[in-house]
Amino acid sequence: MKKSLTIFLATIIFLSIVIGFVYAIDAKGNQDEYSVLIFNGEIDPPTLDPQLNTISHGSLIIYNMFEGLVKTNTRNEQTPGVAEKWEISDDGKQYKFFIRDDAKWSDGKAVTAYDFEYAWKRAVNPANAVKYVNHMFYLKNAKDIFDGKKPMEELGVEVVDEKTLIATLEAPVPYMLEMFSFGVYKPVREDIVEKNPDNWTTNPDTCISNGPFKMTEYKMNDRLTLVKDENYWDQDRVKLNELQFVFIEEEGTALSAFQAGEIDGLLNIPTQQIPTLMMESDEFFIKPRLRLTYAAFNVTAFPFDNIKVREAFTKSIDRQKIVDTVILTGEIPASGFVPHGLIVNGKDFREEGGNFGIQPTVMLEEAQKALAEAGYPNGEGWPKNVEYLYNTNDLNKKIAETLQEMWKKNLNVDVSLVNVESKVHSQRRHSGDFQIARAGWGADYNHPMTFLDLFTSEAGNNTPQYRKAEYDSLIEQAKLSTDPEKTIELLHKAEEMFMNDWAVCPISYATQPIMMKEHVKNWDLSPLGDINFDEIYIEK
């Protein structure tokens, strides 16, 4: 009996050692050989076509599959992409790009200047209905071609030879290099796109890309698998062998999957969990994001056509309290329209621009004084049925209720809340069918212009219906200026004019919460929402 027990134990010990050893080798082998990162893409993007995509879920993937002439990394530095170098003319209107010889598509063919010419003409062609076509209008004649006033041949793009491309602009643009790295300016292949113009990106066989990763499998709404592209020119930079996007919309499930180790990273974190995660998790981070939430006054509608009413409303809310007790994701009380983090000429635009006298907490006396000057002392005579319009969503509802309560308490005015579904909200907002409306805006590129050209008379996103010739002229001058310093100076003037007219009530500058596993190294999230998967490596 005793003998058999000894043999039994010895066998067990021996087996454990063997298994342990094999497992250890295997684990070590895995680390060196094949690394996979699984990221929650939240929703399956409507398209992965660089010209057609408009949403951040799509950009997150496209950023890692396609490469433009210039590459903007997550630290907002412009580095050579497909073009190994470029020359800019003295007047800032002409860019000559020299495409590297080893730039290849994922099927091994060379990337040429023609691929860019084709992509840009495709974007400008009105028949293709590219939603981001406005970003192409920096190119010479692009707007006229889109409007049908000029033929396509006159577009400001010229192929000198297979490896040389000249882009001509309407006017010098201080942030143009960054624009060349933007989705709509990325190359696509004519032979591929023409065969399946609408759905070439839905199938790995036809989805030919030129970036660090290429598609190998695409199961709609389920999983998208990308692998390191062996044809990519700068593949030494790429450490990951495989990058998978899964699409878990439900935040609770996504968090559980992360905590159980089924995924390595996610952006859609349940808000209620954030305070706990902030305290307890080493894998939770809050990153800056170029975005703000504000309440837009309709400056053409009673009673907000009165500037003093707008001032009173803006000064009577406690932004600090809203971010601390309602929003909960470490957002920052907003006191201007351009968020922090836009560094131009070495200076943060927001720091330079100041706060326009808007404090994070309530400015009770000033607010009440403004309301009295508007003709409603202590809220007397305040009209009935003043409505705050927001799009149905839990957080928007809580913010709306808090604002309503603050206006009632501090100004003694009644505001009723109306919530509509987001498409209706957007339609009413853009057409000016509201009194006050919740609104938000996220940057398209790293320059204050992306926020300030919203309020020109012709702009479609001019929610406050703010139309002022002086403002238009400031923006126009800023756009045409060849001197970056001058541009910034003009933009500061524009923001000041707009804020002094109290056209919006800024609420908060956004942040982006993100969770990433500890074994994921060297990752970064840009304020525009891009993740540098091409620089990440895994260390277990």
Binding site: V130, D198, S256, Q427
Partner: protein, 313 residues
């Protein structure tokens, strides 16, 4: 019988046509078009180009006729929200997942619901009956998403018996199917219990007992067949409930089924997808009802005789 089936199919087509028409009208009455972005206003020219591309500038009646022509060719049109994908493809892609989930849920209902109901009836007012009734009350009252979240937390997250999300293997379907079926199981249990109780009181059962037929034989041979008729009646609609009600379950477990299009397509104003999914589910509902009605005939000769005599007239 054949006459009856043909008649039913014709009425099905008419019903479908009415559903298509009503959905089409309602859809176009809702404010906000398919290309109103939630935050960014589209330039009017781009919007115009998109409207042109999808033929939305045509008069409504023309769009309607084109759509009907499409349906006849089984072409449900392109999705506006998913560039380059056809609604037919969306359904083809998603339906296998939704169907698998529904079938597993359905099997669970049959193998759990029916026996529990019978047991409960046989143990009428005893401990077992009470216990089953407590559970079935819970099952009916707790919402699906609560059950789904609890199951996910306990069996996938804590115990790691099942994956948390996705549809990689059959294992992925177990938790969603339980969450999806629980309310129906509880419902079927209660239904079966009450009809079984009713049947057990009937004269022919008493006669069988008096003649000395054994207990289990009475239950399985005489009582069960009649007691399941009400169950069969509701099974068809339950199947459709399982198919269409899986939306929330699919979302929680991140299953790539078609449930998501139900809600998403409406908020996207993705007209062809709204229509496609509505038509598809209506068709399923009508088909299930037809199958149930035919199955009736086999279970209950009285129904068959009535229907045939009507058909003969």
């Amino acid at each position: 019988m054949l006459n009856y089936v043909i008649k039913r199919i014709i009425s099905m087509i008419i019903t479908l046509l009415i559903i298509v028409t009503i959905t089409f009208i309602l859809m176009h009455l809702v404010p906000g078009g398919p290309f109103t972005d939630s935050e960014r206003a589209l330039s009017p020219a781009v919007e115009q180009a998109l409207m042109e591309k999808y033929k939305l500038n045509d008069p409504i009646w023309k769009q309607y006729l084109e759509y009907i022509k499409g349906i006849i060719r089984f072409d449900l049109g392109p999705s506006y929200a998913y560039t380059g994908r056809n609604v037919t493809d969306l359904i083809k892609n998603g339906f296998p997942v939704t169907a698998k989930l529904a079938v597993i849920s359905f099997v669970l209902i049959l193998i759990i619901g029916v026996p529990l109901g019978v047991t409960s009836a046989l143990q009428h007012n005893k401990f077992m009956d009470r216990l089953i009734m407590v559970f079935s009350t819970l099952g009916v009252t707790i919402p699906k998403f609560v059950i789904a979240t609890l199951l996910l937390f306990l069996f996938a997250y804590k115990l790691k018996w099942f994956p948390i999300f996705g549809a990689e293997s059959l294992k992925s379907y177990i938790l969603p199917a339980i969450a999806n079926a629980l309310a129906s199981i509880a419902y079927i249990t209660r239904l079966n219990r009450s009809s079984m109780l009713e049947v057990l009181e009937q004269d022919y059962i008493r006669t069988a007992r008096a003649k000395g037929v054994k207990g289990y034989k009475i239950v399985y041979k005489h009582a069960l067949k009649n007691a399941t008729i009400p169950t069969v009646t509701v099974l068809g609609t339950q199947m459709v409930t399982l198919l269409s009600g899986s939306f929330i379950i699919e979302k929680i477990f991140a299953l790539p089924g078609i449930g998501r299009y139900f809600v998403q397509s409406v908020s996207n104003r993705d007209y062809p997808t709204i229509m496609g999914v509505t038509i598809f589910f209506s068709f399923m509902l009508l088909l299930m009802t037809l199958i149930v009605d035919i199955a009736y005939g086999y279970l209950d000769p009285r129904v068959r005789i009535q229907k045939t005599s009507k058909g003969d007239k």
